[in-house]
């Protein structure tokens, strides 16, 4: 136990020291922050643009898939319940279930499309990358 604690503290102190040294070096070499931003407004806008694009893409696929997943779960549950009540209708129900699931899947694919557009074919790229 003590061994682990010692190793953890060593790791933490070394990393803190390293970060502090790095920050000191960066602070001594670079200009004050507001001048840095004024000099590099293009850099700031680029980094904001890429960061927000990545964030938007991740949120698009994540939130989009939640809805499709809940819908598919509901569809399968309904189909299975009615199959249990009426096994004679099995094949018909499976086909209808697959139809509904295909349409829900297309909704998830729209979200995926938005993600791909944001990552690989961003329409606003021309404004920020001159």
């Amino acid at each position: 136990m003590v061994k682990y604690l010692i190793s953890i503290f060593t790791f933490l102190s070394v990393s803190v020291l390293g970060i502090k040294a790095f920050a000191d070096k960066a602070a001594s070499s670079a200009a004050p922050l507001h001048e840095h931003i004024v000099n590099n407004s293009a850099l700031l806008s680029k980094s904001l643009f890429f960061g927000l694009s990545a964030l938007g893409g991740g949120l698009a696929i994540g939130l989009g898939v939640i809805g499709a997943g809940v819908g598919m779960g509901n569809a399968v549950r309904g189909a299975l319940e009615s199959m249990g009540r009426n096994p004679g209708m099995e094949k018909k129900l499976i086909v209808w279930m697959i139809t509904g699931m295909a349409i829900m899947e297309s909704l998830a694919l729209y979200a995926l499309l938005i993600t791909f557009i944001l990552f690989y074919a961003n329409p606003f790229k021309a404004i920020f990358l001159k």
């Binding site: 094949k91 018909k92 499976i94 086909v95 209808w96 697959i98 139809t99 699931m101 295909a102 349409i103 829900m104 899947e105 297309s106 694919l109 729209y110 499309l113």
Partner: protein, 77 residues
């Protein structure tokens, strides 16, 4: 006959066709957008044909679903 004899031909046909409908729906929209943008470039419009073909592409996807569903309603399993 092989082990696939227990599968109904109409059942397996419909299931395969239905499962590709989701991709069809989105790809027909994409084809519509592509055609619309190309026609806009050719004639010099800004958005007219883009919107028209976007709607037509969505209609094409829905129509594909309609055809498959109509076929399913007419068959007996």
């Amino acid at each position: 006959m092989p082990l696939f004899i227990f599968m109904d031909k109409e059942f397996i046909k419909q299931i395969t066709r239905m499962s590709s409908l989701g991709l069809n729906l989105i790809i027909s929209v994409l084809i519509g957008i592509f055609i619309g943008i190309e026609i806009d470039k050719y004639f010099g419009f800004k958005y007219l044909f883009f919107i028209v073909f976007l709607i037509l592409g969505f209609a094409a996807g829905i129509y594909e679903i309609y055809k498959a569903v109509k076929r399913e309603l007419n068959t007996k399993l």
